[in-house]
Symmetry: C2
Subunit: 276 residues, 2 copies
């Protein structure tokens, strides 16, 4: 029988930090079924008491203490949660004292600093990157390539759009993309329209089998989705990348987060952090 | 004179977790200028030695120890970093032992579990949500509203698109949006096309001043961007939300992350976590 265990992510605000770190730790333990609850905006004593009760109920049902990952800052709220029947991994409490000592400075103990809008111009930049990326999806307005921080290329369904969006949203990168087409395949060279921007190009590729599965979802049993069609497109695009010296990444088994950070890392683009 | 302090975010993989938590802790300390370096994919002994040297140089230049936020899992790599002249906030090392004890189970100590693709169907769902959101941006195909998890409404430039994209990318929510127009303003009711989906509607609003500033960036000195035009649109949409009992949120001073998590929280939509 698989073990069950309740998990709570607690935060004064969005809960993104608590979820991210908690999830990262939980993935190190196999064979347990986690019953996760996100509790963002835990910002009053009343809510804290209610939550403590929920935790106690879960402990009773599971027959063991729930794991609680917390980025709570408010001391009163934290004190109430600490009374509940659980084991708390308190990110803020664990590190803040040692940081205060190292920096010889008291911390602000202020809630909501991490995902709030503190810097209006950074916020505008981020929105601008998102708008840029949306309006340059699938190479519809190539005249704007000059403004791109990076231009992702690859055949249809190679993952260009989600990767561009992630880079814009998470890192404020103006990411354009250009879909390699069958016409491009006829010549064995970088499409003319991209020539002036050679140093901004980054190629995506994936296994022919995975491209086939993805295209099948979109247009089942079409020539477009056929395995041999996928094989020849993949083979062609990888030869092009190698011949033209375009850096590229195989996205077959990695997430959008990993694709994006790998590309930024290899292309030396500065990662901006927006309220993260 | 403002203090300067070097900060390093270290990770075997993407570095997203280390950056998120590190940033969250740093925001609690005012008046220090942080010189941040992200070091993702720190996955070899050679890279670790190189990094240790960079840290030592930074310590020498700053005249004080850099702060290092680490989610490194590999023990050999961690051991090398620990030799450098820095103070390490080691998320993995700090919590994993206590978790092993609580769960009475050894952890996998395996790298790259947190942002990798472990679950193909979750990955497909996420891509589907992104595609849905893109193809339903600005109400272009209202016939698909039936498939939406949520439909954001608001006047032009009220922040619908970035919020929808964030919800799709971060949480796998199929988020459509519908821009309220001047024609809608003529009647004081929910647009007909949205009537069947009343329970999925969520309104965005913001201060007239901020809407004015955002529209000015787009079409300077137009009637569209004029402050009095913005005031009347905002007034009208907030009256509509109240009259029709549509939940809404004022986005003036909060980030896309906060807007998204608040909406999910209030509408009771399940947050999915993808490799976070």
């Amino acid at each position: 029988m698989q073990k069950q265990r309740s998990v709570f992510y607690l935060s004064d605000r969005t809960g993104i930090t608590a979820e991210t770190l908690g999830h990262s730790l939980l993935t190190q333990f196999d064979g347990i079924e986690w019953r996760r609850s996100s509790v963002p905006f835990l910002d009053s004593v009343d809510k804290a008491h209610e939550l403590a009760e929920r935790i106690n109920q879960a402990a009773h049902i599971d027959g063991c203490r729930p794991l609680v990952f917390s980025t709570l800052i408010d001391e009163e709220v934290r004190a109430i949660v600490q009374q509940a029947d659980c084991v708390i991994y308190d990110f803020f409490g664990t590190f803040i004292d040692s940081m205060e000592q190292e920096l010889q400075q008291k911390s602000a103990h202020a809630v909501g600093r991490s995902h709030g809008v503190q810097n209006n111009s950074a916020y505008f930049n981020r929105i601008a990157a998102i708008n840029y990326t949306l309006s340059n999806d699938d190479g519809v307005s190539a005249k704007n390539f000059a403004d791109a921080d990076i231009i992702l290329i690859g055949v249809s369904r190679s993952g260009k759009t989600p990767t561009c969006l992630y880079m814009a949203l998470q890192y404020g990168i103006s990411a354009a993309n250009y879909p390699l087409t069958e016409e491009d395949m006829e010549s064995m060279r970088v499409p003319k329209i991209l020539e002036p921007f050679r140093n901004k190009l980054f190629g995506l590729t994936l296994s022919a089998g995975q491209l086939h599965r993805i295209r099948q979802e979109r247009r089942p049993n079409s020539r477009y989705a056929a395995l041999n069609q996928c094989q020849s497109e993949i083979q062609w695009q990888e030869s092009l990348y190698r011949m033209a010296g375009i850096p590229f990444i195989d996205t077959s088994n990695i997430s959008i987060e990993e694709i994006s950070t790998t590309i930024l890392n290899r292309s030396g683009l500065r990662r901006q952090l927006y309220g993260q």
